[in-house]
């Protein structure tokens, strides 16, 4: 049943995905409204799916697909918060494809992949998952914002007359969206990693720093911190910030992918 709801959600997000592609070439108020409604409806289905999953027992909760689904949901939540504050759907250009992809992967089939390691502190584990995914979602958004910043900067610099009519919000608004999600995401990411370590220590008695998952997670955290620092200290924007954000995003992807070959942090097949 949760899977069915998730697939409904996927259908709704698909409209968002189409919007993302259309919005790149032209502006349509009507379409962005449709996309917004579709996305909100998708979130409702998505929420139902997540809740049912949660109700069905905590073991299923920590499967890979649920993770992806939760991440997609949190990203959508961020998107909606930004919409509420800035009244712009343009981050959707980046957020919708990512959310669609995550939901798609989560919705294709019902894999009974569970965390094979024996975990003694489920509370810590859940805290870890939610915190780190919120961090990821913020990172996705900040990455999206830095791409939009580049596009808008390019448009303004090109001085083409069309640059005035565009779906993108003002440069400083995009910048604020990116910076705020970055700032918001950092504590979540940090706490997420800490709770992760707690789980690891209580389960294995120590943290294996040479494990790819832990190495990549640390790398991602360091890049994240560098981003926050450069931004705070010297106001890095535009190309340099986008470069860093891309790097952090890739690191995050790598850290995520490491789930598939880490010895300790696995949603291994049953």
């Amino acid at each position: 049943m949760p899977l069915l709801w998730l697939r409904f959600a996927l259908g709704c997000y698909f409209i968002g995905l189409v919007y993302a592609f259309v919005a790149l070439s032209r502006t349509s108020d009507l379409f962005s409204r449709i996309a917004l409604h579709a996305a909100s409806m998708g979130m409702v289905f998505h929420f139902v799916s997540l809740t049912e999953n949660f109700m069905s027992g905590q073991v299923a909760w920590v499967s890979v697909h649920n993770g992806e689904s939760l991440l997609a949901f949190l990203s959508m939540t961020f998107f909606m918060v930004i919409y509420a504050i800035y009244k712009t759907t343009s981050p959707g250009v980046v957020v919708f494809p990512v959310v669609f992809f995550l939901t798609f992967v989560a919705a294709v089939d019902e894999q009974p992949v569970l965390l094979t390691s024996f975990v003694s502190h489920k509370g810590w584990l859940i805290a870890h998952i939610i915190l780190i995914f919120t961090g990821y979602a913020a990172l996705v958004l900040s990455f999206g914002a830095s791409l939009l910043y580049l596009i808008q900067e390019r448009r303004l610099k090109s001085k083409k007359p069309t640059s005035l009519i565009s779906f993108l919000p003002a440069l400083e608004v995009i910048d604020q969206i990116g910076y705020r999600s970055l700032l918001l995401g950092f504590p979540f990411m940090t706490l997420g990693l800490l709770t992760g370590s707690v789980v690891a220590v209580t389960t294995y008695g120590h943290v294996d720093f040479l494990d790819p998952k832990i190495l990549l997670s640390l790398l991602m955290w360091v890049v994240y911190m560098v981003m926050v620092f450069t931004r705070w200290n010297s106001g890095w924007r535009g190309r340099r910030a986008a470069f860093l954000a891309t790097f952090a995003f890739v690191a995050a992807l790598a850290a995520w992918a490491a789930n598939y070959f880490s010895a300790i942090h696995r949603f291994g097949a049953s």
Partner: protein, 435 residues
């Protein structure tokens, strides 16, 4: 539909003529009264702005002598005035009014002021009772059309002067201009104008630097700003988000090294340079820097040109909307024309039916409830069948121009007196004369 409109605008008449026709606001009510007292005019109102004077009327027979009214009212000779006048009737008058209200007939197409002016003129005329039935409908529709044009096309959205383009660009960079600082380098007319626009959009404070310090002080005072010595330009410039520069310097005064300095001190917050100097004040290598957005006079001019072109395209869409609205308005008026006739036709026949039933009731004797119902159904049925074709014909005629003729014929044939309320207002003449 017997609308008639006469007027002059910025295209048809030079300023000297418009000046002589302009009616001050205080005189508008009297002029409206005078207008409605003029022979052949039922309702009338006057729109008088600096770009146009228009007289809009609903007449008794569609051929009121509006030119005569203008000659009399302004004491002008026909040869001085007539060449500049345009006159529209019926549909054309409706179209013209819709275009005026939607700002398609304005000097700056899409400017929003005209709608407000028309609304004021309408309110004035209404207050003195010069606008009642038909003109009331016409103007309510015109306001709705103007609103539709504004919301469905971008005809009023893009700005058309260099100063307003600069404001729009600044908004694209900063979002809001609230709290942003402006720096004028080189006091000149154009930079002053741009600064005025920026301040009007919420910019917080202004700095002025000029080679002649006194001129800087003079300009700064105008804006409640702060004059800066030219030597201190580079050390203070980073405090501004928007720099308007128009010095007569033979070389660029803002170069890459300055840009780097500014951005470092501003923690890379972007800066917008409006460079209206020729030769340019901002060097090319500085303009290329991340975080520096420099627009020279050609860039701005290009944006203006494209805005004008955009507006023209949007104006075409607006014209299409108006054409559709004129048709709809006409159709609606015609339908209103036939509705009272249909109603009185139905009333008339119903009276006959009732009278006939009462007349034969005595001869029918006591009827059972079933028989009562049957008689009702029979008589009603006959009337409905007979009425069906005339009513359909009237309704469809409403959409065509011959409506008035057919309505007249039906009224004559059935000897109808129109009783409906709106008809009483609209057609008081016809109702008054026996048919």
């Amino acid at each position: 539909m017997r609308f008639q409109l006469i007027g002059v605008n910025h295209k048809s008449a030079p300023l000297e003529v418009r000046e002589r026709l302009a009616i001050p606001e205080s005189r508008l009510p009297d002029t409206c009264r005078e207008l409605t007292a003029y022979p052949g005019i039922e309702e009338g109102m006057v729109i008088s702005t600096c770009n146009r004077v228009e007289i809009v009327t609903h007449t008794t027979n569609g051929h009121a002598d509006l030119r005569g009214f203008l000659h009399d009212h302004f004491h002008l000779k026909p040869e001085d005035l007539d060449a500049h006048l345009y006159e529209f009737r019926e549909k054309d008058a409706v179209r013209h009014l819709f275009r005026v209200a939607a700002s398609l007939d304005s000097m700056v197409v899409g400017e929003a002021q005209i709608l407000g002016q028309v609304k004021e003129a309408y309110a004035t005329a209404r207050a003195v009772g010069a606008v009642r039935g038909q003109l009331d409908q016409l103007f309510s529709r015109a306001f709705a059309v103007a609103k539709r044009v504004r919301s469905e096309t971008a005809v009023g959205s893009s700005s058309v002067s260099i100063a307003s383009v600069a404001v729009e660009l600044a908004k694209k960079i900063f979002g809001t201009l609230q709290g942003k600082n402006v720096f004028i380098v080189g006091a000149g007319k154009m930079s002053e104008l741009a600064a005025r626009h920026l301040m009007a959009h919420g910019c917080a404070s202004i700095f002025v630097a000029n080679r002649t310090y006194e001129r800087a002080i003079g300009l700064a005072q105008k804006f409640d700003g702060q004059a800066i010595k030219f030597e201190d330009l580079y050390s203070t410039c980073d405090r501004a988000d928007i720099v308007i520069t128009s010095t007569g310097a033979p070389h660029a005064i803002f170069r890459r090294e300055h840009g780097e300095q500014f951005l470092a001190r501003r923690k890379n917050r972007p800066m917008f340079f409006i460079d209206i100097a020729v030769p340019r004040d901002v060097s090319q290598d500085m303009a290329k820097m991340d975080g520096i957005f420099a627009y020279d006079i050609d860039d701005l001019q290009q944006a203006v040109t494209s805005h004008v072109a955009d507006r023209r395209k949007e104006a075409e869409r607006a014209e299409a909307i108006i054409a559709g609205e004129v048709e709809r308005f006409e159709a609606r008026l015609h339908t209103l024309d036939v509705v009272p006739t249909i109603v009185s036709l139905q009333d008339h026949l119903e009276t006959i039916r009732q009278a006939e039933i009462d007349r034969v009731r005595g001869r029918l004797g006591q009827l059972s409830p079933e028989q009562e119902i049957a008689v009702e159904a029979l008589t009603r049925g006959i009337i409905n069948k007979v009425m069906h074709t005339p009513i359909t014909t009237l309704k469809s005629a409403a959409r065509e121009s011959e409506a008035t003729t057919i309505v007249d014929v039906v009224r004559r044939l059935f000897n109808l007196q129109v009783k409906a309320k709106e008809a009483a207002v609209d057609r008081k003449d016809e109702v008054g004369t026996p048919q």
